[in-house]
């Protein structure tokens, strides 16, 4: 079963420039694939995604060859932590595609919003609208009034 939730902190302009910082970047000249390794940090607007390794996959150009100008998706592996102004999420892997603005986090996902935390197997967030959906053995811990949840 799944739980729909709004990740308001993540609602942002997906047209903003994406900045990727890492220790090293390896680009295969012929195939055009690019792999960032060594505490990689993807920053766009208020979203900060940290991971051990990020592999960049390019969109396919009209004739099928990889169009190295547009990034189709960034696959972050090796333990991913996502931080925004109000939320934080952790997972084993995450796939972020700037074109469509979707972020899919998989593998023991734990999302904390203010006092509440939701855990499950996959969390898909549409960054344009900030709508999120958690699937797979969802467990929610709600902070009752005392700690002044959001």
């Amino acid at each position: 079963q799944g739980t729909n939730l709004t990740v308001s902190g993540l609602q942002q302009d997906t047209g903003a420039p994406v900045e990727v910082t890492a220790d090293s970047l390896q680009v295969d000249q012929a195939a055009g694939s690019a792999v960032f390794t060594g505490n990689v940090l993807i920053v766009q607007g208020t979203m900060r995604l940290a991971a051990a390794e990020v592999r960049v996959a390019y969109a396919k150009a009209a004739d099928g060859t990889p169009d190295t100008g547009t990034i189709d998706s960034m696959t972050a592996t090796g333990g991913v932590t996502l931080a925004t102004a109000t939320e934080a999420a952790e997972a084993a892997e995450a796939v972020y595609s700037p074109q469509s603005g979707d972020l899919v986090m998989t593998g023991d996902v734990l999302l904390t919003q203010g006092g509440n935390s939701v855990s499950g197997q996959t969390l898909t967030i549409d960054l344009d609208t900030g709508a999120g959906r958690m699937d797979g053995r969802v467990k929610t811990v709600l902070q009752t009034g005392t700690a002044g949840g959001n």
């Binding site: 994406v18 090293s24 390896q26 680009v27 000249q29 012929a30 960032f36 700037p98």
Partner: protein
């Protein structure tokens, strides 16, 4: 001398006096009044310093070409190359351009203001505003670059600024090397990419 009664003879008589005087005046402007001839600037000598040319052996427009072990064709041309006193097979050159054609079809053009070729150690060191343009869309500028002559290994120890098809990359160092068959451009020492999504 009989006086002449008709116009014609009087005219001819006067002309016999005036015309030689005019000729004398013309001739004098040619020799007496004309500007002095300065003998030393008669022949325009070229400014090339002949002593320097004789003293220092140099090659103009030298060309070095070779194929690396992994099959990449490297050709280097320069404006002027001077063999170094240091050792055999060493030369320093100015205004270098190098082209590396790797078997995977990518051509890398490198331009630098000056360089040091050491065939004994199999190394070409380019310094001074090095620009690398790869046909895969990467244009990289750096301060210094060393290129191995026997294998495909371009290393830039210093900071590198690259404009890639996907955006601008700033890195601490850069290396182009061949890893089991395919050619890999490695940026390390801290990499920052700025990508503008085009949606």
């Amino acid at each position: 001398m009989a006086t002449h009664d008709n116009i014609h003879s009087r005219l001819v008589a006067w002309l016999k006096v005036i015309l030689p005087l005019a000729a004398l005046a013309l001739l004098s402007t040619l020799f007496l009044v004309s500007r002095g001839i300065a003998p030393e600037d008669a022949l325009p000598y070229s400014e090339v310093d002949v002593e320097e040319l004789a003293r220092e052996p140099r090659l103009t427009a030298p060309r070095y070409a070779g194929v690396t072990l992994d099959g990449a064709a490297l050709s280097v041309t320069a404006e002027v190359a001077r063999p170094d006193v240091g050792g055999a097979g060493q030369a320093s050159a100015t205004a270098l351009t190098a082209r590396l054609e790797t078997p995977d079809g990518v051509t890398t053009d490198i331009a630098a203001s000056d360089g040091q070729l050491d065939t004994a150690a199999g190394l070409l060191t380019l310094t001074g505003d090095v620009r690398i343009a790869a046909s895969s869309g990467y244009a990289i500028t750096t301060g210094a670059l060393t290129a191995a002559l026997d294998q495909t290994l371009l290393t830039s120890p210093g900071a590198v600024v690259a404009t890639a098809p996907m955006g601008r990359i700033d890195a601490g160092a850069m290396q182009l090397t061949s890893q089991d068959g395919d050619y890999v451009l490695v940026f390390n020492g801290g990499v920052k990419l700025v990508y503008e999504p085009r949606n």
